[in-house]
C-alpha cells in the first residue's frame, strides 16, 4: 500500500482538488485508504461514506445539478453494484469520475474477488465509460488530470482503473 506523502494517492488527491471536486463519495477500501484520509481531512470537500457504491452515482448527479463536482471512490467489486444506476449518468449525461481500485488480478489471494474483477473493464465499456487503466505510479498524475477534464468538461463517465500491481498486495497473514 502506498501511504507515504507524495505517492500516487496524494497525486490523485491533488488532481481532484485542483479539478474543483467538492464532494467525494466512497465505500471504504484499503487501496483508497490514503486518498480517503486526505479527503476527510480537507475542509472544502464533503466526504460522504456510502453504504453501497450506487449511492455515489446518485450523489454525483445531485452535486452536478447543484453546480458542484463530485468523485466516487470504490473497489472493483463495487462496480457490480452500480450497473443500473449508471443509466442515470448515461441518460442525462451527468459527469461521473470514478476512481476504482482493482482486486482479483495481480497476486490476488482471494478467489471470490476474481469474477467481478475480471469483468470490470468490459462492464465499464458497455456502460459507455471512458477507461484509463493505470499500472505504474508515474502514469497517475497525467491520467488523473485528463480524467477530470474529460469527465466535467465533456460531461462523460470516466473511470480510472487502478491496477492491483500499483496498489500492492494485500497481506493476509503476518
Amino acid at each position: 500500500m502506498s501511504t507515504q506523502a507524495g505517492g500516487w494517492p496524494d497525486q490523485l488527491f491533488e488532481a481532484i482538488k485542483r479539478g474543483g471536486v467538492r464532494q467525494v463519495g466512497y465505500v471504504p477500501d484499503a487501496g483508497h485508504a490514503r486518498l480517503i484520509d486526505r479527503c476527510r481531512a480537507d475542509d472544502e470537500i464533503s466526504d460522504v461514506v456510502l453504504t453501497t457504491e450506487e449511492e455515489g452515482i446518485a450523489l454525483a448527479a445531485g452535486a452536478w445539478l447543484g453546480g458542484q463536482r463530485a468523485a466516487l471512490l470504490m473497489q472493483s467489486s463495487g462496480l457490480g453494484n452500480c450497473v443500473n444506476m449508471l443509466s442515470l449518468a448515461r441518460t442525462c449525461r451527468f459527469p461521473l469520475l470514478m476512481l476504482i481500485t482493482m482486486r482479483g488480478e495481480w497476486q490476488e489471494f482471494n478467489p471470490w474477488q476474481v469474477p467481478m474483477g475480471s469483468i470490470v473493464e468490459p462492464v465499464l465499456k458497455l456502460c459507455e465509460a471512458e477507461v484509463y487503466r493505470i499500472r505504474e505510479p508515474d502514469e497517475v498524475a497525467g491520467a488523473a488530470e485528463r480524467a477530470v477534464q474529460q469527465a466535467f468538461g465533456d460531461e462523460r463517465i470516466v473511470a480510472m482503473v487502478l491496477s492491483q500491481q500499483l496498489i500492492g498486495r494485500k497481506v493476509w497473514t503476518k
Binding site: 474543483g20 467538492r22 464532494q23 464533503s46 460522504v48 461514506v49 456510502l50 453504504t51 453501497t52 450506487e54 449511492e55 455515489g56 452515482i57 446518485a58 450523489l59 454525483a60 448527479a61 445531485g62 452535486a63 452536478w64 445539478l65 447543484g66 453546480g67 458542484q68 463536482r69 463530485a70 443500473n84 444506476m85 443509466s87 442515470l88 441518460t91 442525462c92 449525461r93 451527468f94 466535467f152
Partner: protein, 191 residues
C-alpha cells in the same frame, strides 16, 4: 381516510418559491409532481430507482442556501434504504425526504410492498439517526409539513400515508439531458 396523492403533492408544492428544489422518485411521485405543475426546479426521475434520496443529498450539499425536497414512494425508498444511513451521517439542514407511502408498488400492478407487511419507514429513519421524523396522516399534518418545507432547519424525514390509488398518469419531459440542463440553468450554476 388516507390522503389523496395528487392533492397531497399539490399541497406540498403550493406557492413554492424559487429556492425549493424538488426531486420526485421513479414512478408515481414523478407523475404527481408533473400533475401539480411543471417547474424547471423539478428533476423528474424516469429511472434510477433507489436513487432519489441520494440525488437530494448531493444537491443539498451543493446548494446550502436552497431547500431540497425529495418526494418519493415507499418502494423507491426501500430500494435505497441504505441512503437513509448515509444521509444521517451528513444531515444537511436543507434536505427533506418525504415518502408517499401507500404500501404497494403502484407502477407494476399494486403488489404489496414491505411497508404493508410491517416495515416502518419512519422507524427506520429514526433508527438511522434522523431526529426530525413526521408521521403525516391527515390534512392538518400535511399542511404543517408544507410549512416546514418552506423553512427547513434540519434534515427532515416525513412519511405521508396515502391511499393506494392509480390516478391517470401525467407525463413530464423525459429527455434527461434537457431536464438536467434546464434545472442547472434555473439555478444559474456552472461547474
Amino acid at each position: 381516510m388516507k390522503l389523496d396523492r395528487r392533492a397531497a403533492m399539490a399541497t406540498l408544492v403550493k406557492d413554492r418559491d424559487d429556492d425549493l428544489l424538488v426531486v420526485p422518485g421513479l414512478g408515481s411521485t414523478t407523475w404527481d409532481l408533473a400533475a401539480a405543475g411543471d417547474n424547471p426546479r423539478n428533476f423528474y426521475l424516469w429511472g434510477a430507482m433507489g436513487g432519489a434520496a441520494m440525488i437530494g443529498l448531493g444537491l443539498a450539499l451543493a446548494q446550502p442556501k436552497r431547500r431540497v425536497a425529495v418526494i418519493t414512494g415507499d418502494g423507491e425508498m426501500l430500494m435505497g434504504l441504505g441512503s437513509l444511513a448515509t444521509i444521517s451521517n451528513k444531515r444537511p439542514p436543507n434536505l427533506a425526504v418525504v415518502i408517499f407511502d401507500n404500501g404497494v408498488y403502484g407502477e407494476t400492478g399494486m403488489q404489496p410492498s414491505h411497508t404493508q407487511m410491517g416495515v416502518d419507514l419512519l422507524g427506520v429513519a429514526g433508527a438511522c439517526g434522523i431526529s426530525a421524523c413526521l408521521d403525516v396522516r391527515d390534512e392538518g399534518a400535511l399542511v404543517d409539513l408544507a410549512a416546514r418545507l418552506k423553512e427547513l432547519r434540519e434534515t427532515l424525514f416525513a412519511r405521508v400515508l396515502i391511499a393506494a390509488e392509480e390516478p391517470p398518469r401525467v407525463l413530464p419531459l423525459r429527455d434527461g439531458v434537457a431536464l438536467k440542463d434546464r434545472f442547472r440553468a434555473a439555478l444559474g450554476v456552472k461547474a
